[in-house]
């Protein structure tokens, strides 16, 4: 069972505002991810982290930034929100197990962001 939390669940803000989407997991997973999903569309990876102080950009270009100062926390920040940033943002985490073929990613409930 996954214990991964995202806040806020819904956010409506005006253009130009700075926002931070929070993601926390209590499972001690080393890897964390941020995906972006538009209605009826695929999830696209925008950021990932293999551990503390490790962050990389994903496949989909994003103006957001992330940080990983603590294992359990992986916040995403938009310095100046625009209407094009309106989307659902999903956080996930996984654990690298010795000998495992691949990791299973567990997702949080998501943050639906609307920028007016």
């Amino acid at each position: 069972e996954a214990d991964i939390y995202q806040t806020p669940r819904y956010l409506v803000i005006g253009t130009g505002k700075k926002i931070t989407l929070e993601c926390s997991q209590t499972m001690g997973h080393d890897k964390m991810y941020w995906y972006q999903q538009d209605p009826g569309m695929e999830l696209h990876l925008i950021h990932y982290s293999y551990g503390v102080n490790s962050t990389e950009k994903g496949d989909l270009s994003s103006e957001s930034t992330v940080s990983r100062i603590r294992t359990e926390h992986f916040p995403l920040t938009l310095e100046s929100a625009r209407p094009s940033h309106t989307s659902q943002y999903l956080c996930a985490s996984s654990e690298s197990l010795r000998g495992a073929i691949t990791d299973t990613q567990y997702f949080g409930p998501g943050t639906r962001l609307t920028v007016l």
Partner: protein
Amino acid sequence: EDQVTQSPEALRLQEGESSSLNCSYTVSGLRGLFWYRQDPGKGPEFLFTLYSAGEEKEKERLKATLTKKESFLHITAPKPEDSATYLCAVSKDTGRRALTFGSGTRLQVQP
């Protein structure tokens, strides 16, 4: 280029009417194929991981199978609570191990 294609895009079934969802993939070095269920406004919920052709996994009314080119999610005697979007994703043989998702199949089961 890696591709994951799911069909149909949408499926409407009567309660008890069994059917299958398809996920075809073109990926070099497949490590694993995942099925997730996503309810509206929520994050994907993990269902299954399949690692090699011929593998099958079951959970309640769902059974997932895998070949070298595609995976099927069979739904036997579905109930209205099975209504959701079902997502397929693949993990590649790379160090990053992020997932590549299909666009999903929206399943509606009517009573």
